[in-house]
């Protein structure tokens, strides 16, 4: 499998070095423990916002560090939760005296590593609040699973909560808004291919040319089921129906529609999918007032997409529109 890498074990550090140099006006990086931080941080008097997770989902999370979004990100090994040392270092680096919010995607490893870091931070006297994202409707949320995965809504939440912190809101308020975003967002993804992890060198699972995985996450594991490839219209319906049913979204709702590329799918296809999504939502009396289309939470080179719908109100819309300046998202500045 061809990749644009050097030695597999150096991928994360080399990418961090590349990002730091390319965006030196916005971010700096520190190694061992590895963290990506705002170049102008910590911002005194502002709640600090950190997240983190396995590498391989770029631009999430490092590409979202900067004004109006994350103050720091912790990149783990590819598809591997980062270690508590990283989150502790990040927490200390962003502490502006008003506490720190940890945004944690609901994966067993992330939950445990962030938990241990929060314990360590508390022991050092830093107030930490945690919000967990678990928007994936593909997994049944029950005592029979590890719970729903945190996927697309995490991107939207990081932006909205970053804006909330910029208003000077306190930690409890920032957490309230974060929990609201997670509660009002739902996602689902489908893959046309698996992905190839640098140290593995071949796809994580084999997917025949004429089949797709429905209900995939972002770590290259198989989805819930496999079906024959169908049109973009049918795939979009397969992803959108469970999302609409689950919240549920109703006629009269106003949403942010997020069509996310998993890394290996061209933008032209994402727009075809968005076109189908817009038709479905229009038919259901749901209006789309904001959109995000592109590769924002990826799974290396997996072909496919995920759809996230976030129910908006005035508060969330205002925070979404607020200025942001990070490597991956920039408006209002």
């Amino acid at each position: 499998m061809k990749k644009l890498i050097n030695a597999p074990e150096n991928v994360v550090k080399e990418a961090m070095a590349g990002m730091a140099d390319a965006h030196s006006d916005l971010i700096t990086v520190r190694y061992d423990p590895d963290i990506i931080v705002r170049a102008d941080g910590p911002i005194q008097g502002k709640v600090g916002i950190i997240s983190g997770g396995g590498s391989g989902h770029e631009p999430m999370h490092g590409g979202f560090v900067g004004k109006g979004m994350l103050d720091a990100a912790c990149p783990g090994a590819v598809f591997t939760s980062p270690v508590p040392d990283q989150m502790l270092a990040a927490t200390k680096a962003v502490d502006g005296g008003k506490g720190v919010l940890h945004i944690v995607k609901n994966y067993t490893g992330d939950i445990m590593n962030f938990e241990m870091a929060a314990e360590m931070a508390a022991a050092e006297g830093i107030e930490v609040a945690t919000v967990i994202t678990n928007d994936d409707v593909a997994v049944k949320d029950s005592t029979w699973t590890a719970g729903r995965r945190g996927v697309g809504v995490t991107v939207l939440l990081e932006k909205i909560v970053g804006a909330a912190a910029d208003t000077g809101a306190d930690l409890a308020e920032v957490k309230r808004i974060a929990e609201k975003v997670n509660a009002q967002g739902r996602s689902m993804g489908a893959a046309l291919t698996s992905c190839t992890i640098p140290h593995v060198g071949k796809p994580s699972f084999e997917l025949p040319d004429d089949e797709i995985e429905v209900g995939v996450g972002i770590h290259g594991e198989p989805g819930r089921r496999r079906i024959k490839i169908v049109s973009a219209a049918d795939v979009t319906a397969l992803l959108t129906e469970p999302i609409l049913e689950d919240l549920p979204f109703s006629s009269g709702d106003n949403v942010l529609a997020f069509v996310n590329g998993l890394g290996g799918t061209p933008l032209i296809e994402l727009y075809v999918v968005y076109n189908e999504l817009a038709t479905i939502l229009k038919g259901r009396g749901i209006s789309i007032s904001r959109t995000l289309i592109g590769n924002y939470i990826t799974s290396l080179d997996m072909a496919g997409c995920s759809i996230t719908l976030l129910k908006l109100d005035d508060e969330l819309t205002k925070l979404w529109d607020a200025p942001v300046h990070t490597p991956a998202l920039r408006w209002g500045v």
């Binding site: 396995g54 090994a77 590819v78 591997t80 939760s81 270690v83 049944k140 699973t145 590890a146 994580s204």
Partner: protein, 212 residues
């Protein structure tokens, strides 16, 4: 018989070598029902552990095990880092500052390790995890110990039960961890965590048999 601090160091070295040898196998198991990083993550952790061993060569068993635990937490990541890290930390705490362990002490350390894994991971038996090989292994070890068997024989029985537990994960439905996202597709695949735990148990047995 007694396990000394030196034996524990040898045990850690043996685990590290085994994990390195079996790295690709563990990764392959983790590709089927996971995200293909189990072997690589553990190998990274134990490679770092090896570099710390000379620093604890003259320390008590508790200190050695705690060093292994904190190193794993700081280097492995994923779910295995916190789980195996906690296991070694709790074993170290149970062992304390002794330089020699008898059979009952080893059992106590293993039980503390298992309890740590269960509470950190909020998991129990039957969920298709490392607990499903460790738990039965400790049960068999304790039973043989209590029946008066010599330690090496008791450990052999424990490791055999651990292996059986590992194999028994194959038909299980995963209700914890990443495999649980696959639902029924997790059935028919041996759990990577149960496998690495068995490899560690087997390494322990090899060292103890070598002492005899």
């Amino acid at each position: 018989m007694h396990i000394t601090a030196e034996h524990v160091i040898t045990f850690i070295e043996r685990i590290s070598a085994t994990i390195k040898e079996q790295r690709d196998y563990l990764t392959q198991l983790d590709s089927a029902i996971g995200d293909a990083d189990h072997g690589v993550n553990l190998d990274r952790g134990f490679t770092t552990v090896l570099t710390k061993l000379s620093g604890v060569a003259d320390k008590d068993i508790g200190a050695i095990l705690k060093t292994v635990g904190t190193t794993l937490v700081s280097t492995v990541g994923g779910a295995s880092g916190p789980l195996y890290g906690t296991a070694f930390l709790r074993a170290g705490m149970a062992t304390g500052d002794r330089f020699e362990l008898g059979a009952a002490d080893v059992v106590a350390a293993l039980e503390a390790a298992l309890e740590g894994v269960q509470s950190r991971g909020k998991s129990t038996r039957g969920e298709k995890t490392m607990i499903d090989s460790i738990g039965p292994g400790i049960d068999a070890l304790k039973e043989a110990n209590a029946a008066g068997e010599d330690f090496v024989n008791a450990l052999r029985k424990g490791v055999a039960a651990c292996e059986a537990g590992m194999q028994a994960t194959t038909p299980m439905l995963a209700t914890k961890g990443r495999a649980s996202y696959l639902g029924e597709r997790s059935i028919g695949h041996q759990d990577p965590g149960a496998t690495s735990a068995f490899l560690m148990a087997q390494a322990m047995l090899e060292v103890v048999e070598g002492i005899r």
